[in-house]
Amino acid sequence: MSPHLSVNLVTDLRELLAYHFMVNALLGGSLVALIAAPLGWFMVLRSETFAGHTLSMMAFPGASGAALAGIGAAWGYFFFCLAGALAIGGLSGGRSGEGERSANIGTIQAVALAVGFLFLSLYGGVLSDLEDLLFGNLLGISDGQLITICAVSLCSLGALSIFARPLLFASVDAELAAARGVPVRSLSTLFLIALALAVAAISQITGVLLVFALLVAPAASAQTLSPRPLTSLLLSVLFALVIVWLGLGIAYFSSYPAGFYIASVAFAVYLAARLAALLSERRPRRPRRRDQPSATAPMGGVSR
Protein backbone atom coordinates (compact mmCIF):
# COMPACT_ATOMS: atom_id res chain seq x y z
CA MET A 1 0.00 0.00 0.00
CA SER A 2 3.00 2.27 0.00
CA PRO A 3 2.63 5.21 -2.39
CA HIS A 4 4.39 4.56 -5.62
CA LEU A 5 5.48 7.27 -8.00
CA SER A 6 5.49 6.24 -11.66
CA VAL A 7 6.34 8.12 -14.84
CA ASN A 8 2.69 8.16 -15.86
CA LEU A 9 1.17 11.23 -14.21
CA VAL A 10 -2.41 10.09 -14.82
CA THR A 11 -2.01 6.90 -12.84
CA ASP A 12 -0.21 8.85 -10.13
CA LEU A 13 -3.12 11.24 -9.90
CA ARG A 14 -5.63 8.39 -9.88
CA GLU A 15 -3.77 6.67 -7.06
CA LEU A 16 -3.63 9.93 -5.13
CA LEU A 17 -7.35 10.58 -5.47
CA ALA A 18 -8.33 7.07 -4.46
CA TYR A 19 -8.07 7.98 -0.79
CA HIS A 20 -10.76 9.93 1.03
CA PHE A 21 -8.23 11.75 3.24
CA MET A 22 -6.31 12.87 0.17
CA VAL A 23 -9.48 14.17 -1.52
CA ASN A 24 -10.37 16.04 1.66
CA ALA A 25 -6.84 17.42 1.91
CA LEU A 26 -6.95 18.69 -1.67
CA LEU A 27 -10.44 20.15 -1.26
CA GLY A 28 -9.59 21.76 2.07
CA GLY A 29 -6.24 22.98 0.79
CA SER A 30 -7.87 24.51 -2.30
CA LEU A 31 -10.44 26.30 -0.14
CA VAL A 32 -7.66 27.58 2.11
CA ALA A 33 -5.79 28.84 -0.93
CA LEU A 34 -8.90 30.56 -2.27
CA ILE A 35 -9.44 32.47 1.00
CA ALA A 36 -5.83 33.11 1.91
CA ALA A 37 -4.74 34.49 -1.46
CA PRO A 38 -7.07 37.54 -1.72
CA LEU A 39 -6.72 38.43 1.95
CA GLY A 40 -2.98 37.97 1.76
CA TRP A 41 -2.90 40.10 -1.36
CA PHE A 42 -4.33 43.03 0.57
CA MET A 43 -2.11 42.22 3.55
CA VAL A 44 1.06 42.45 1.45
CA LEU A 45 -0.19 45.53 -0.39
CA ARG A 46 -0.84 47.28 2.93
CA SER A 47 2.51 45.98 4.24
CA GLU A 48 0.80 44.43 7.23
CA THR A 49 2.88 41.27 7.17
CA PHE A 50 3.79 41.61 10.84
CA ALA A 51 0.12 42.07 11.78
CA GLY A 52 -0.80 38.97 9.77
CA HIS A 53 1.91 36.95 11.45
CA THR A 54 0.76 38.16 14.86
CA LEU A 55 -2.84 37.19 14.09
CA SER A 56 -1.75 33.72 13.06
CA MET A 57 0.20 33.42 16.33
CA MET A 58 -3.08 33.93 18.23
CA ALA A 59 -3.67 30.23 17.64
CA PHE A 60 -1.34 29.51 20.56
CA PRO A 61 -3.29 31.34 23.33
CA GLY A 62 -6.45 30.24 21.52
CA ALA A 63 -5.63 26.56 21.72
CA SER A 64 -4.23 26.64 25.28
CA GLY A 65 -7.02 28.92 26.55
CA ALA A 66 -9.69 26.63 25.10
CA ALA A 67 -7.99 23.62 26.68
CA LEU A 68 -7.96 25.39 30.05
CA ALA A 69 -11.61 26.45 29.78
CA GLY A 70 -12.62 23.01 28.56
CA ILE A 71 -14.27 24.25 25.37
CA GLY A 72 -13.58 23.47 21.73
CA ALA A 73 -10.32 24.83 20.36
CA ALA A 74 -12.20 26.63 17.58
CA TRP A 75 -13.76 29.04 20.10
CA GLY A 76 -10.36 29.94 21.46
CA TYR A 77 -8.96 30.50 17.97
CA PHE A 78 -11.80 32.81 16.97
CA PHE A 79 -11.81 34.69 20.27
CA PHE A 80 -8.09 35.44 20.36
CA CYS A 81 -7.84 36.24 16.65
CA LEU A 82 -10.65 38.76 16.91
CA ALA A 83 -9.19 40.23 20.11
CA GLY A 84 -5.82 40.53 18.38
CA ALA A 85 -7.35 42.27 15.35
CA LEU A 86 -9.20 44.75 17.55
CA ALA A 87 -6.09 45.40 19.65
CA ILE A 88 -3.92 46.04 16.59
CA GLY A 89 -6.59 48.19 14.95
CA GLY A 90 -7.36 50.09 18.16
CA LEU A 91 -3.81 50.74 19.35
CA SER A 92 -2.36 51.74 16.02
CA GLY A 93 -4.00 55.08 15.41
CA GLY A 94 -3.88 56.88 12.10
CA ARG A 95 -1.03 59.16 13.17
CA SER A 96 1.28 56.53 14.64
CA GLY A 97 4.52 56.12 12.76
CA GLU A 98 6.12 52.96 11.46
CA GLY A 99 8.22 52.48 14.56
CA GLU A 100 5.35 52.83 17.00
CA ARG A 101 3.21 50.50 14.91
CA SER A 102 5.83 47.79 14.92
CA ALA A 103 6.30 48.20 18.69
CA ASN A 104 2.53 47.92 19.15
CA ILE A 105 2.19 44.75 17.14
CA GLY A 106 5.29 43.21 18.68
CA THR A 107 4.00 43.87 22.17
CA ILE A 108 0.57 42.45 21.31
CA GLN A 109 2.14 39.28 19.97
CA ALA A 110 4.43 38.95 22.99
CA VAL A 111 1.46 39.36 25.33
CA ALA A 112 -0.55 36.77 23.38
CA LEU A 113 2.31 34.28 23.63
CA ALA A 114 2.82 35.05 27.33
CA VAL A 115 -0.88 34.55 28.05
CA GLY A 116 -0.87 31.34 26.05
CA PHE A 117 2.12 30.08 28.00
CA LEU A 118 0.40 31.03 31.27
CA PHE A 119 -2.75 29.12 30.24
CA LEU A 120 -0.62 26.14 29.34
CA SER A 121 1.10 26.11 32.72
CA LEU A 122 -2.25 26.54 34.54
CA TYR A 123 -3.70 23.72 32.45
CA GLY A 124 -0.74 21.58 33.43
CA GLY A 125 -0.54 19.90 30.06
CA VAL A 126 2.43 19.63 27.76
CA LEU A 127 2.94 21.58 24.58
CA SER A 128 1.23 19.68 21.79
CA ASP A 129 3.27 18.37 18.94
CA LEU A 130 5.43 21.12 17.46
CA GLU A 131 4.65 20.14 13.92
CA ASP A 132 0.88 20.16 14.42
CA LEU A 133 0.88 23.57 16.09
CA LEU A 134 3.15 25.06 13.44
CA PHE A 135 2.07 23.21 10.33
CA GLY A 136 -1.29 21.73 11.24
CA ASN A 137 -2.60 18.52 9.83
CA LEU A 138 -3.79 18.99 6.28
CA LEU A 139 -3.86 15.24 5.72
CA GLY A 140 -6.36 14.70 8.55
CA ILE A 141 -9.23 17.02 7.59
CA SER A 142 -12.66 15.72 8.54
CA ASP A 143 -15.83 16.35 6.54
CA GLY A 144 -17.13 18.62 9.33
CA GLN A 145 -14.01 20.78 9.22
CA LEU A 146 -14.39 21.04 5.47
CA ILE A 147 -17.91 22.45 5.90
CA THR A 148 -16.69 24.96 8.52
CA ILE A 149 -13.93 26.25 6.26
CA CYS A 150 -16.41 26.49 3.42
CA ALA A 151 -18.81 28.61 5.50
CA VAL A 152 -16.12 30.89 6.89
CA SER A 153 -14.51 31.34 3.50
CA LEU A 154 -17.82 32.44 2.00
CA CYS A 155 -18.40 34.96 4.83
CA SER A 156 -14.88 36.32 4.76
CA LEU A 157 -14.67 36.60 0.97
CA GLY A 158 -18.17 38.09 0.81
CA ALA A 159 -17.22 40.78 3.30
CA LEU A 160 -13.96 41.46 1.49
CA SER A 161 -15.68 41.81 -1.89
CA ILE A 162 -18.07 44.40 -0.43
CA PHE A 163 -15.32 46.76 0.68
CA ALA A 164 -12.60 45.70 -1.75
CA ARG A 165 -12.70 48.86 -3.88
CA PRO A 166 -12.49 51.45 -1.09
CA LEU A 167 -9.96 49.25 0.69
CA LEU A 168 -7.79 49.18 -2.42
CA PHE A 169 -8.00 52.97 -2.65
CA ALA A 170 -7.19 53.37 1.05
CA SER A 171 -4.29 50.90 0.78
CA VAL A 172 -2.66 52.53 -2.23
CA ASP A 173 -3.01 56.16 -1.12
CA ALA A 174 -4.40 56.56 2.38
CA GLU A 175 -4.17 60.35 2.46
CA LEU A 176 -5.95 60.89 -0.82
CA ALA A 177 -8.62 58.36 0.16
CA ALA A 178 -9.17 60.10 3.50
CA ALA A 179 -9.46 63.45 1.70
CA ARG A 180 -12.11 61.94 -0.57
CA GLY A 181 -14.13 60.88 2.47
CA VAL A 182 -13.17 57.18 2.54
CA PRO A 183 -13.24 55.96 6.17
CA VAL A 184 -9.61 54.80 6.14
CA ARG A 185 -9.35 53.96 9.83
CA SER A 186 -12.55 51.86 9.95
CA LEU A 187 -11.59 50.09 6.74
CA SER A 188 -8.24 49.18 8.27
CA THR A 189 -9.90 47.63 11.32
CA LEU A 190 -12.55 45.91 9.17
CA PHE A 191 -9.83 44.39 7.05
CA LEU A 192 -7.98 43.15 10.13
CA ILE A 193 -11.21 41.54 11.40
CA ALA A 194 -11.81 39.78 8.08
CA LEU A 195 -8.19 38.63 8.12
CA ALA A 196 -8.54 37.43 11.71
CA LEU A 197 -11.67 35.39 10.97
CA ALA A 198 -10.05 33.73 8.00
CA VAL A 199 -6.81 33.07 9.89
CA ALA A 200 -8.72 31.55 12.81
CA ALA A 201 -10.61 29.22 10.49
CA ILE A 202 -7.61 28.26 8.40
CA SER A 203 -5.00 27.85 11.11
CA GLN A 204 -7.05 25.10 12.76
CA ILE A 205 -6.10 22.84 9.90
CA THR A 206 -2.97 24.39 8.45
CA GLY A 207 -1.25 25.44 11.65
CA VAL A 208 0.27 28.76 12.61
CA LEU A 209 3.02 28.96 10.03
CA LEU A 210 1.46 27.42 6.98
CA VAL A 211 -1.42 29.89 7.08
CA PHE A 212 1.13 32.69 7.17
CA ALA A 213 3.10 31.17 4.30
CA LEU A 214 -0.07 30.92 2.21
CA LEU A 215 -1.02 34.50 3.03
CA VAL A 216 2.29 36.08 2.19
CA ALA A 217 4.11 34.07 -0.49
CA PRO A 218 1.50 33.90 -3.31
CA ALA A 219 0.58 37.56 -2.84
CA ALA A 220 4.17 38.77 -2.77
CA SER A 221 5.03 36.70 -5.85
CA ALA A 222 2.04 38.01 -7.77
CA GLN A 223 2.73 41.61 -6.83
CA THR A 224 6.32 41.42 -8.03
CA LEU A 225 5.07 40.13 -11.39
CA SER A 226 2.25 42.53 -12.16
CA PRO A 227 1.43 46.08 -11.03
CA ARG A 228 -2.22 45.73 -12.12
CA PRO A 229 -4.49 45.02 -9.15
CA LEU A 230 -6.85 42.54 -10.79
CA THR A 231 -4.13 40.64 -12.66
CA SER A 232 -1.95 40.21 -9.61
CA LEU A 233 -4.96 39.31 -7.44
CA LEU A 234 -5.89 36.51 -9.85
CA LEU A 235 -2.24 35.49 -10.13
CA SER A 236 -1.96 35.22 -6.35
CA VAL A 237 -5.00 32.89 -6.24
CA LEU A 238 -3.45 30.78 -8.98
CA PHE A 239 -0.09 30.66 -7.16
CA ALA A 240 -1.77 29.68 -3.89
CA LEU A 241 -3.62 26.81 -5.57
CA VAL A 242 -0.48 25.60 -7.32
CA ILE A 243 1.50 25.78 -4.05
CA VAL A 244 -1.08 23.73 -2.14
CA TRP A 245 -1.58 21.14 -4.88
CA LEU A 246 2.11 20.66 -5.59
CA GLY A 247 2.96 20.56 -1.88
CA LEU A 248 0.30 17.99 -1.10
CA GLY A 249 1.09 15.95 -4.19
CA ILE A 250 4.79 15.73 -3.37
CA ALA A 251 4.04 15.01 0.28
CA TYR A 252 1.88 12.05 -0.69
CA PHE A 253 4.76 10.33 -2.42
CA SER A 254 7.26 11.13 0.30
CA SER A 255 7.73 10.36 3.94
CA TYR A 256 8.27 13.93 5.09
CA PRO A 257 5.54 16.25 6.38
CA ALA A 258 3.27 18.15 3.98
CA GLY A 259 3.97 21.44 5.76
CA PHE A 260 7.61 21.30 4.75
CA TYR A 261 6.75 20.77 1.07
CA ILE A 262 4.11 23.48 0.98
CA ALA A 263 6.47 25.97 2.63
CA SER A 264 9.25 25.00 0.22
CA VAL A 265 7.07 25.24 -2.90
CA ALA A 266 5.84 28.64 -1.67
CA PHE A 267 9.43 29.80 -1.28
CA ALA A 268 10.37 28.44 -4.71
CA VAL A 269 7.44 30.24 -6.35
CA TYR A 270 8.51 33.49 -4.71
CA LEU A 271 12.12 33.08 -5.86
CA ALA A 272 10.96 32.28 -9.39
CA ALA A 273 8.72 35.35 -9.41
CA ARG A 274 11.53 37.61 -8.24
CA LEU A 275 13.83 36.16 -10.89
CA ALA A 276 11.22 36.59 -13.62
CA ALA A 277 10.58 40.17 -12.56
CA LEU A 278 14.31 40.87 -12.60
CA LEU A 279 14.72 39.43 -16.10
CA SER A 280 11.73 41.21 -17.62
CA GLU A 281 12.81 44.43 -15.97
CA ARG A 282 16.20 44.19 -17.58
CA ARG A 283 15.09 43.20 -21.06
CA PRO A 284 12.77 46.00 -22.27
CA ARG A 285 14.92 48.75 -20.83
CA ARG A 286 17.47 48.94 -23.63
CA PRO A 287 15.19 49.49 -26.66
CA ARG A 288 12.92 51.78 -24.69
CA ARG A 289 15.69 54.06 -23.56
CA ARG A 290 16.41 54.92 -27.18
CA ASP A 291 12.82 55.96 -27.91
CA GLN A 292 11.69 57.75 -24.78
CA PRO A 293 14.15 58.13 -21.92
CA SER A 294 11.53 58.94 -19.30
CA ALA A 295 9.59 55.67 -19.64
CA THR A 296 10.67 53.16 -17.06
CA ALA A 297 9.24 49.71 -16.71
CA PRO A 298 6.67 49.73 -13.88
CA MET A 299 7.18 46.03 -13.21
CA GLY A 300 6.58 45.17 -9.62
CA GLY A 301 5.67 48.74 -8.84
CA VAL A 302 3.05 47.85 -6.25
CA SER A 303 5.26 45.98 -3.87
CA ARG A 304 8.09 48.45 -3.79
Binding site: T107, L113, L209, S255, Y256, G259
Partner: protein, 290 residues
Amino acid sequence: MFEAEFMRNALLAGTFIALACGLSGYFLVLRGQVFAGDALSHVAFPGALAAAAAGLDERVGLFAVTVLFGALIGALGRRSRARDTTIGIVFTFVLGLGVFFAALLASGAGGGSGIQVAHTLFGSIFGLGHGEALLAGAIALAVVGFTALIARPLLFASIDPAAALARGVPVDMLNIGFLVALGVIAAEATQALGALLLLGLLAAPAGAAHRLTSSPLAGMLLAGALSLLAMWAGLCASYEIPALPPSSAIVLIAASIYLLAGVVAGARRRAARRGAVALAPATLADKIGA
Protein backbone atom coordinates in the same frame (compact mmCIF):
# COMPACT_ATOMS: atom_id res chain seq x y z
CA MET B 1 14.64 34.46 47.65
CA PHE B 2 18.31 35.11 46.87
CA GLU B 3 19.27 32.01 48.85
CA ALA B 4 18.14 29.88 45.94
CA GLU B 5 20.94 29.13 43.51
CA PHE B 6 18.61 29.04 40.49
CA MET B 7 17.28 32.50 41.35
CA ARG B 8 20.79 33.99 41.54
CA ASN B 9 21.62 32.48 38.17
CA ALA B 10 18.38 33.74 36.66
CA LEU B 11 19.09 37.26 37.96
CA LEU B 12 22.65 37.18 36.65
CA ALA B 13 21.72 36.10 33.12
CA GLY B 14 18.44 38.02 33.08
CA THR B 15 19.98 41.34 34.04
CA PHE B 16 22.42 41.49 31.17
CA ILE B 17 20.05 39.98 28.60
CA ALA B 18 17.40 42.51 29.62
CA LEU B 19 19.89 45.36 29.15
CA ALA B 20 20.93 44.06 25.74
CA CYS B 21 17.31 43.57 24.63
CA GLY B 22 16.27 47.03 25.84
CA LEU B 23 19.13 48.73 24.01
CA SER B 24 18.74 46.73 20.77
CA GLY B 25 14.97 47.16 21.02
CA TYR B 26 15.39 50.93 21.10
CA PHE B 27 16.96 50.84 17.64
CA LEU B 28 14.54 48.20 16.36
CA VAL B 29 11.55 50.37 17.26
CA LEU B 30 13.26 53.47 15.90
CA ARG B 31 13.76 51.67 12.59
CA GLY B 32 10.32 50.03 12.59
CA GLN B 33 12.01 46.65 12.46
CA VAL B 34 10.53 44.71 15.37
CA PHE B 35 9.39 42.03 12.93
CA ALA B 36 13.06 41.26 12.24
CA GLY B 37 13.60 40.52 15.93
CA ASP B 38 10.52 38.34 15.95
CA ALA B 39 11.71 36.42 12.91
CA LEU B 40 15.14 35.90 14.50
CA SER B 41 13.56 34.31 17.56
CA HIS B 42 11.67 31.92 15.27
CA VAL B 43 14.59 30.80 13.13
CA ALA B 44 16.67 29.83 16.16
CA PHE B 45 14.83 26.54 16.57
CA PRO B 46 15.38 25.20 13.03
CA GLY B 47 19.02 26.13 13.41
CA ALA B 48 19.39 23.93 16.45
CA LEU B 49 17.52 21.08 14.75
CA ALA B 50 19.64 21.36 11.60
CA ALA B 51 22.83 21.15 13.64
CA ALA B 52 21.47 18.12 15.50
CA ALA B 53 20.60 16.45 12.19
CA ALA B 54 24.12 17.13 10.91
CA GLY B 55 25.59 15.77 14.12
CA LEU B 56 27.02 19.11 15.23
CA ASP B 57 26.69 20.88 18.54
CA GLU B 58 23.26 22.51 18.62
CA ARG B 59 24.61 25.81 19.89
CA VAL B 60 26.70 26.10 16.74
CA GLY B 61 23.60 25.72 14.56
CA LEU B 62 21.62 28.11 16.71
CA PHE B 63 24.16 30.91 16.51
CA ALA B 64 25.05 30.24 12.87
CA VAL B 65 21.44 30.45 11.68
CA THR B 66 20.46 33.54 13.66
CA VAL B 67 23.64 35.41 12.73
CA LEU B 68 23.26 34.48 9.04
CA PHE B 69 19.59 35.43 9.08
CA GLY B 70 20.43 38.73 10.76
CA ALA B 71 23.07 39.48 8.12
CA LEU B 72 20.58 38.58 5.38
CA ILE B 73 17.90 40.92 6.73
CA GLY B 74 20.51 43.65 7.10
CA ALA B 75 21.65 43.16 3.53
CA LEU B 76 18.07 43.39 2.27
CA GLY B 77 18.38 47.07 3.00
CA ARG B 78 16.06 49.72 4.18
CA ARG B 79 13.03 49.52 1.90
CA SER B 80 10.82 48.48 4.77
CA ARG B 81 7.66 47.77 2.78
CA ALA B 82 9.18 45.00 0.71
CA ARG B 83 11.50 44.06 3.58
CA ASP B 84 8.85 42.79 5.99
CA THR B 85 7.29 40.66 3.27
CA THR B 86 10.63 39.15 2.33
CA ILE B 87 11.45 38.43 5.97
CA GLY B 88 8.08 36.69 6.33
CA ILE B 89 8.62 34.48 3.31
CA VAL B 90 12.18 33.54 4.21
CA PHE B 91 11.46 32.72 7.82
CA THR B 92 8.44 30.52 7.03
CA PHE B 93 10.70 28.61 4.68
CA VAL B 94 13.35 28.28 7.39
CA LEU B 95 10.69 26.97 9.78
CA GLY B 96 9.58 24.53 7.11
CA LEU B 97 13.16 23.30 6.99
CA GLY B 98 12.99 22.98 10.79
CA VAL B 99 10.03 20.64 10.51
CA PHE B 100 11.91 18.67 7.88
CA PHE B 101 14.91 18.28 10.20
CA ALA B 102 12.59 17.29 13.05
CA ALA B 103 11.11 14.56 10.87
CA LEU B 104 14.59 13.54 9.74
CA LEU B 105 15.77 13.26 13.35
CA ALA B 106 12.67 11.34 14.42
CA SER B 107 13.11 8.78 11.65
CA GLY B 108 16.90 8.62 11.95
CA ALA B 109 19.02 6.06 13.74
CA GLY B 110 19.22 8.16 16.90
CA GLY B 111 15.48 8.11 17.28
CA GLY B 112 13.92 11.12 18.93
CA SER B 113 16.96 11.91 21.05
CA GLY B 114 18.04 14.79 18.83
CA ILE B 115 14.66 16.48 19.19
CA GLN B 116 14.80 15.88 22.90
CA VAL B 117 18.08 17.73 23.10
CA ALA B 118 16.68 20.56 21.01
CA HIS B 119 13.74 20.83 23.35
CA THR B 120 15.87 20.97 26.47
CA LEU B 121 17.94 23.64 24.76
CA PHE B 122 15.00 25.98 24.85
CA GLY B 123 14.89 26.03 28.57
CA SER B 124 13.41 28.20 31.24
CA ILE B 125 15.34 31.01 32.89
CA PHE B 126 14.91 29.17 36.20
CA GLY B 127 16.72 26.15 34.79
CA LEU B 128 20.08 27.83 34.14
CA GLY B 129 23.25 26.46 35.67
CA HIS B 130 25.92 28.80 37.02
CA GLY B 131 28.21 28.36 34.03
CA GLU B 132 25.39 28.91 31.53
CA ALA B 133 24.28 32.02 33.38
CA LEU B 134 27.83 33.42 33.33
CA LEU B 135 28.13 32.70 29.60
CA ALA B 136 24.75 34.28 28.86
CA GLY B 137 25.70 37.33 30.89
CA ALA B 138 29.05 37.67 29.12
CA ILE B 139 27.53 37.35 25.65
CA ALA B 140 24.78 39.84 26.49
CA LEU B 141 27.36 42.25 27.91
CA ALA B 142 29.39 41.98 24.71
CA VAL B 143 26.28 42.82 22.66
CA VAL B 144 25.56 45.82 24.90
CA GLY B 145 29.14 47.01 24.48
CA PHE B 146 29.07 46.56 20.71
CA THR B 147 25.73 48.35 20.33
CA ALA B 148 26.89 51.20 22.58
CA LEU B 149 30.05 51.47 20.50
CA ILE B 150 28.16 51.87 17.21
CA ALA B 151 25.25 53.76 18.81
CA ARG B 152 26.09 57.22 17.46
CA PRO B 153 26.59 56.37 13.78
CA LEU B 154 23.77 53.81 13.96
CA LEU B 155 21.41 56.47 15.27
CA PHE B 156 22.40 58.78 12.43
CA ALA B 157 22.01 55.98 9.87
CA SER B 158 18.61 55.00 11.27
CA ILE B 159 17.11 58.48 11.37
CA ASP B 160 18.41 59.86 8.10
CA PRO B 161 20.20 57.22 6.01
CA ALA B 162 20.62 59.48 2.98
CA ALA B 163 22.34 62.23 4.96
CA ALA B 164 24.43 59.66 6.83
CA LEU B 165 25.56 58.12 3.56
CA ALA B 166 26.48 61.54 2.20
CA ARG B 167 28.57 62.20 5.31
CA GLY B 168 30.48 58.96 4.70
CA VAL B 169 28.82 56.85 7.39
CA PRO B 170 28.93 53.18 6.31
CA VAL B 171 25.14 52.75 6.48
CA ASP B 172 24.98 49.24 5.01
CA MET B 173 27.73 47.92 7.25
CA LEU B 174 26.00 49.41 10.29
CA ASN B 175 22.66 47.81 9.35
CA ILE B 176 24.29 44.42 8.96
CA GLY B 177 26.42 44.79 12.09
CA PHE B 178 23.42 45.76 14.19
CA LEU B 179 21.30 42.86 12.97
CA VAL B 180 24.16 40.41 13.43
CA ALA B 181 24.48 41.60 17.05
CA LEU B 182 20.72 41.14 17.34
CA GLY B 183 21.12 37.62 15.95
CA VAL B 184 23.68 36.85 18.66
CA ILE B 185 21.42 38.07 21.45
CA ALA B 186 18.45 36.26 19.85
CA ALA B 187 20.34 32.98 19.84
CA GLU B 188 21.48 33.44 23.43
CA ALA B 189 18.09 34.61 24.70
CA THR B 190 16.11 31.85 22.99
CA GLN B 191 18.28 29.12 24.44
CA ALA B 192 18.63 30.64 27.90
CA LEU B 193 15.18 32.09 28.40
CA GLY B 194 12.98 30.57 25.70
CA ALA B 195 11.87 32.13 22.42
CA LEU B 196 8.82 33.72 24.02
CA LEU B 197 10.72 36.24 26.13
CA LEU B 198 12.81 37.81 23.41
CA LEU B 199 10.04 39.57 21.48
CA GLY B 200 8.46 41.03 24.61
CA LEU B 201 11.75 42.43 25.88
CA LEU B 202 12.63 43.85 22.47
CA ALA B 203 9.31 45.54 21.71
CA ALA B 204 7.64 46.66 24.93
CA PRO B 205 10.32 48.52 26.99
CA ALA B 206 11.73 50.21 23.89
CA GLY B 207 8.26 51.14 22.69
CA ALA B 208 7.53 52.66 26.10
CA ALA B 209 10.81 54.62 26.02
CA HIS B 210 9.96 55.99 22.57
CA ARG B 211 6.58 57.11 23.86
CA LEU B 212 8.04 58.84 26.90
CA THR B 213 11.00 60.70 25.45
CA SER B 214 12.24 61.85 22.07
CA SER B 215 15.83 62.31 23.24
CA PRO B 216 17.96 59.42 21.95
CA LEU B 217 20.28 59.09 24.94
CA ALA B 218 17.46 59.29 27.47
CA GLY B 219 15.46 56.88 25.32
CA MET B 220 18.24 54.28 25.23
CA LEU B 221 18.84 54.52 28.96
CA LEU B 222 15.12 54.39 29.68
CA ALA B 223 14.61 51.37 27.40
CA GLY B 224 17.38 49.51 29.21
CA ALA B 225 16.06 50.53 32.63
CA LEU B 226 12.45 49.57 31.87
CA SER B 227 13.56 46.26 30.42
CA LEU B 228 15.57 45.61 33.57
CA LEU B 229 12.61 46.58 35.74
CA ALA B 230 10.34 44.14 33.88
CA MET B 231 12.93 41.39 34.21
CA TRP B 232 13.49 41.81 37.97
CA ALA B 233 9.83 42.35 38.81
CA GLY B 234 8.84 39.40 36.64
CA LEU B 235 11.41 37.09 38.21
CA CYS B 236 10.29 38.06 41.73
CA ALA B 237 6.59 37.69 40.85
CA SER B 238 7.19 34.30 39.32
CA TYR B 239 9.21 33.21 42.38
CA GLU B 240 6.36 34.18 44.69
CA ILE B 241 3.59 32.69 42.50
CA PRO B 242 4.73 29.23 41.38
CA ALA B 243 1.90 28.82 38.83
CA LEU B 244 3.12 31.89 36.95
CA PRO B 245 5.88 30.99 34.45
CA PRO B 246 8.77 33.50 34.60
CA SER B 247 8.64 34.37 30.89
CA SER B 248 4.90 35.11 31.05
CA ALA B 249 5.38 37.28 34.14
CA ILE B 250 8.23 39.27 32.58
CA VAL B 251 6.41 39.83 29.29
CA LEU B 252 3.14 40.79 30.98
CA ILE B 253 4.91 43.31 33.23
CA ALA B 254 6.78 44.74 30.24
CA ALA B 255 3.49 45.09 28.35
CA SER B 256 1.87 46.83 31.34
CA ILE B 257 4.75 49.30 31.38
CA TYR B 258 4.15 49.87 27.67
CA LEU B 259 0.43 50.51 28.20
CA LEU B 260 1.17 52.82 31.12
CA ALA B 261 3.66 54.76 29.01
CA GLY B 262 0.95 55.17 26.37
CA VAL B 263 -1.44 56.56 28.98
CA VAL B 264 1.21 58.94 30.34
CA ALA B 265 2.17 60.11 26.85
CA GLY B 266 -1.49 60.63 25.94
CA ALA B 267 -2.18 62.61 29.11
CA ARG B 268 0.92 64.72 28.52
CA ARG B 269 -0.09 65.45 24.94
CA ARG B 270 -3.60 66.43 26.06
CA ALA B 271 -2.19 68.65 28.81
CA ALA B 272 0.12 70.33 26.33
CA ARG B 273 -2.78 70.95 23.97
CA ARG B 274 -4.96 72.28 26.77
CA GLY B 275 -2.08 74.46 27.93
CA ALA B 276 -1.71 75.86 24.44
CA VAL B 277 -5.44 76.53 24.18
CA ALA B 278 -5.56 78.06 27.65
CA LEU B 279 -2.54 80.20 26.88
CA ALA B 280 -3.92 81.68 23.71
CA PRO B 281 -7.05 83.35 25.16
CA ALA B 282 -5.06 84.59 28.12
CA THR B 283 -2.54 86.38 25.98
CA LEU B 284 -5.33 87.68 23.85
CA ALA B 285 -7.16 88.95 26.92
CA ASP B 286 -3.93 90.51 28.16
CA LYS B 287 -3.51 92.29 24.90
CA ILE B 288 -7.06 93.57 25.00
CA GLY B 289 -6.59 94.65 28.60
CA ALA B 290 -3.36 96.43 27.70
